[in-house]
Amino acid sequence: MPLANLWNRILSWFRERNDRLQLVNDFNMAARQAWVAGYVPSCLKASISKGYSEYRHSFSRWMASGFRICVLSGAQLSKQDIKYIGEAILSNDTLVRQLVVLGWDTLEIHCDVGNYGCRWALKDHLRLGS
């Protein structure tokens, strides 16, 4: 029984890992297509980062719990613009839930230029019961 349990855990780990990579790839693909088609002025690039330990929740992954988005704009965006991009992402309930169940706890957004960015705790934007 414990062996079967361990086997299930291993399978589950690989399945979740695959789902995480799939989500990141889907995001990057959509961002790339939108930028190439000219719908948006900057290209977004998602990646997995370490995350911020204070934002951990029950489903957080031990490591790599940050969903980092890099805005490839070629110039430093204002804090207001970065916040707006973050709010647009966090306002999508389905995406936030997907991120949480797949083990992410932190959303980070920064530009390719400059040295500051913003981060949010995903658990604060999880509207449960709605």
């Binding site: 939108a34 719908y39 707006y84 647009a88 306002s91 999508n92």
Partner: protein, 112 residues
């Protein structure tokens, strides 16, 4: 050298065992996974569009559809009130804002 490797392995096993002892609320996770599945796949195109384009559209819509612009016509005022509430709810949703724009143009006769 072998002692060091053995020590590292013991440490790793201890850390993994410690992590395993922490019980996770699996029921809640399953519930959330179920909810996320029921809602379907994420519309990434809309998310990306909303991140850059919804602000301009929202700013235009909230000005053009404000109920105070229709003080004399009670019917239009009620429609504008309803549309305005939905605009505020969907501030970061570009697709919904586009639909509301069409609705406002049709029902309120405004040009946006």
């Amino acid at each position: 050298m072998d002692c060091n490797c053995f020590g590292i392995i013991i440490l790793l096993v201890a850390v993994i065992a410690f992590k395993r002892t922490k019980s996770k609320p699996v029921d809640n996770l399953d519930m959330l996974k179920q909810q996320a599945k029921e809602q379907g796949n994420v519309d990434f195109k809309n998310v990306i569009n909303s991140a850059f384009n919804s602000k301009q559209l929202y700013d235009k819509l909230k000005v053009k559809c404000h109920p105070d612009r229709f003080p004399l016509d009670d019917e239009k005022n009620a429609i504008a009130n309803d549309i305005f509430q939905r605009i505020k709810q969907n501030e970061h949703n570009f697709d919904e804002l586009k639909k509301l724009k069409e609705e406002a143009e049709e029902k309120l006769g405004v040009i946006i």
